[in-house]
């Protein structure tokens, strides 16, 4: 089986576990929803302020949800030593990295569809202004978050490493995604959407670089 086929098998397995366990729907979605409602209430009823802050709050909710999604994805590997099975399989270890990232991209995009709906209702954010740009920002940003999480999520499951290392590594590295995602979302909803190209380009470049570097580095992170 090719590395791509192996990555797809791993992604399919992770998505099946997610569908059975409903971790995103049962844990991460309520968390993201509560975060948005709490911010909405604290900012008050002013429509203009809500609209201005909505892109940032939306991406903060997605960022924190992605951290939880990755912890969950790797916890399933650690429950009964299953991760060792992946490591001992005669496969390209980059396929583990790519497969787990692909599964989380699907999970996060499903989550974002609901969260964007919440933001439209709570913050009156106009999403029909430039839907293609908005979708591009979310797809590219989500890939960026997923590859960073897939790269370092494995570290938290390694013996002799601490779980706390995961957010410490992931959150600073996700800053470019957060900044570019917020700016592109802002331009796609309330600003001149034509100016979002450079932010989308930054997201694309980030995805390409981290995916490439991650595919090369992952084996060194997971092998003893």
């Amino acid at each position: 089986m090719s590395a791509l086929g192996q990555a797809l098998a791993i992604a399919k397995k992770d998505l099946r576990i997610e569908v059975r366990g409903r971790h995103v729907a049962g844990t991460i979605l309520p968390f993201a929803g509560t975060l948005l409602i709490a911010f909405g209430l604290s900012l008050g009823p002013g429509r203009s302020l809500l609209r201005q802050t909505a892109p940032g709050l939306l991406w903060l909710a997605v960022l924190f949800a992605s951290v939880l999604a990755f912890r969950q994805a790797y916890q399933a590997e650690g429950e009964d030593g299953a991760f060792e099975s992946l490591i001992l399989a005669p496969i390209d270890k980059a396929s583990v990295f790519l497969g787990k990232a692909a599964a989380v991209v699907v999970e996060l995009l499903a989550l974002e569809a609901v969260v964007v709906g919440l933001v439209v209702v709570l913050f009156d954010l106009p999403v029909g202004h430039a839907p293609v740009v908005l979708a591009g920002a979310f797809v590219l940003g989500t890939i960026g978050l997923a590859v960073v999480g897939s790269l370092f999520g494995a570290l938290a499951e390694m013996p002799r490493t601490r779980e706390a290392i995961f957010p410490l590594l992931v959150l600073p590295l996700c800053t470019p995604v957060l900044v570019a995602g917020v700016k592109a979302t802002e331009l796609a909803t309330t600003g001149p959407a034509g100016q979002a190209g450079s932010w989308l380009g930054l997201l694309l470049a980030f995805d390409v670089v981290v995916t490439g570097v991650g595919s090369l580095l992952f084996v060194y992170l997971v092998e003893d």
Binding site: G5, I17, A76, D80, E84, L86, A89
Partner: protein, 239 residues
């Protein structure tokens, strides 16, 4: 044949090239040391296992048996020393060693939210094994009636059986069993012995680490481990 009264001569029996020549041994370790933090788990272990052997490893908890199996399976890298499996270097030949060996360890390495069938199909996908072997393997360990149920609801013994079925899927050249009898009832223990004999019958090699003194009848040789060192079983008896 080493003298029973000469422990050092007995030790030579599991040192590399001790009177053996010919094809590459299944396993050959030279002065393997593994340190976790500051605690040595293996201390200068020399071991030679010929193809077709069934080696029994005995010893107390913390003796280093699991670490030794982990090193041979390439799950754990040695801190010092070198070794080969089927003539392949433990580091440079890692992928091929993994292709030809199977480690059944303490942990069953199953996904709780998948069924036994789904777990084994995933193993087939990773190892390029034929998925048609999944149902017969589960039938053989007596789990066919519950093969579609999630592993989360299985007892420890049932999980161990699934882990055993995983070994049946691939017919590895080197089977590494770490406490394979733990948590199993007698029929399942007999299945383990059956698989050991079947592996040997097709020319494969088996290394079994176990506490169970009632098992090991299929072994062709046994060694005792203590404090990260290997000793011949006979030397232990002579102490």
């Amino acid at each position: 044949m080493a003298s029973l009264t000469d422990p050092d001569a007995l030790l030579d029996e599991h040192k590399p090239d001790a009177g053996r020549t010919g094809a590459a041994p299944a396993v050959q370790l030279r002065a393997i040391t593994r340190v976790f933090g500051v605690a040595p788990a293996l201390v200068r272990v020399d071991l030679r296992v010929e193809a077709g052997e069934v080696l029994l490893l005995r010893g107390p908890n913390g003796a280093g048996k699991s670490t030794l199996l982990g090193v041979i399976a390439t799950a754990i890298s040695p801190t010092y020393g070198s070794g080969t499996v089927f003539g392949l270097d433990l580091v440079a030949g890692r992928d091929e060693i993994r292709r030809r060996s199977e480690l059944v360890g303490h942990r069953t390495r199953l996904y709780e939210d998948l069924s036994a069938t789904e777990n084994l199909r995933f193993v087939c996908a990773l190892h390029g094994a034929d998925e048609r072997r999944v149902d017969p393997a589960l039938e053989r360990v007596g789990l066919a009636p519950v093969a579609g149920d999630r592993v989360r609801g299985y007892s420890q013994g049932m999980r161990q059986r699934v882990a055993l079925a995983r070994a049946f899927l691939r017919s590895p050249d080197l089977l590494l069993l770490d406490e394979p009898y733990a948590g199993l009832d007698d029929p399942a223990k007999d299945l383990v012995d059956e698989e050991i004999r079947a592996t040997r019958a097709r020319g494969g090699t088996v290394i079994v680490a176990t506490h169970d003194p009632t098992r090991g009848s299929a072994a062709t040789r046994s060694l005792y481990m203590d404090g990260g060192r290997l000793l011949p079983e006979l030397r232990r008896a002579a102490r």
